[in-house]
């Protein structure tokens, strides 16, 4: 005989589930009272970096991030630009932003002719699921942009 699940039992379980989830969030230690950045904050940073140029999204800049990051405390991020690294076709800077972190700034890489290739990799913190944005500035003033969503399972809340 199939045991019937009492509606009250179901209810108690879902309540416990919710309480459990809330406790987990508290235990991770999200910074209380510190608002996260918004995509608009990140775009304002992009505009400032671009200095009036319209960022191109044609794929010259590649942004490598995992689709899913289990641990937001250490998320690998790589950037590369298809560039000769000399004359006008030279990458001067690449800025990385995370539009849902308490502060969208992550890192800015500066390249030189000795770089040979415009590639760099590091590890960053992501407080929650969000978009990672990379913008590259060329010697001729052109600006290239790439964006990638990263799903974060456990947030790296600044720690």
């Amino acid at each position: 005989m199939v045991k019937e699940v009492h509606p009250m039992e179901m209810n108690r379980r879902s309540v416990l589930g919710i309480v459990g989830a809330a406790t987990t969030v508290a235990a991770i230690g999200l910074p209380v009272g510190i608002a996260n950045a918004t995509p608009e904050d990140a775009m304002a940073k992009v505009r400032e970096f671009a200095g009036g140029k319209e960022p191109q999204t044609g794929g010259k800049l590649t942004l490598n991030t995992p689709e899913i990051a289990e641990n937001g405390n250490s998320v690998p991020v790589g950037v590369s630009v298809d560039s000769a690294m000399e004359g006008d076709d030279m990458v001067e800077e690449i800025m990385i932003l995370a539009d849902g972190n308490p502060n969208p700034d992550v890192v800015t890489f500066k390249f030189t002719e000795l770089s040979g290739e415009a590639v760099a990799e590091t590890r960053m913190r992501l407080a929650k699921t969000q978009d990672v944005v990379a913008v590259a500035k060329m010697a001729n003033g052109d600006v290239h942009m790439a964006k990638a969503p990263v799903k974060v399972t456990i947030g790296g809340c600044g720690g």
Binding site: G29, P31, V32, I34, N73, S74, V75, G78, M85, A98, N101, P102, N103, D105, V106, V107, T108, F109, K110, F111, T112, E113, L114, S115, G116, E117, A118, V119, A120, E121, T122, R123, M124, R125, L126, G156, C157, G158, G159
Partner: protein
Amino acid sequence: MASKPRVKLPKSASAGEVITVKTLISHEMESGQRKDKNGEVIPRQIINKFTVTFNEKPVFEADIEPAISSNPYFEFSVKVPESGTFHFKWEDDDGSVYETEEAIEVA
């Protein structure tokens, strides 16, 4: 506090070859976003700048924000024109500077 930085790059290369350099330094990278058990904000203390030169010419630089993970890791490329010495420098919020050097032989 940071401990001795680690750098990985080939011992030799041919002239004009593009090599990959990997660097790591042990550092808490305290973001300034966390609170201790009394609810006090733990002050920010991070490595805020990483600079690489080759034979005293600039190669690569990173302006670092608190969103970089603890034990900051950087990987980048260098086109090596000649034999010489790489100089790596990490700058801490507290004013400390951590440095190391690595030589490469170009045949």
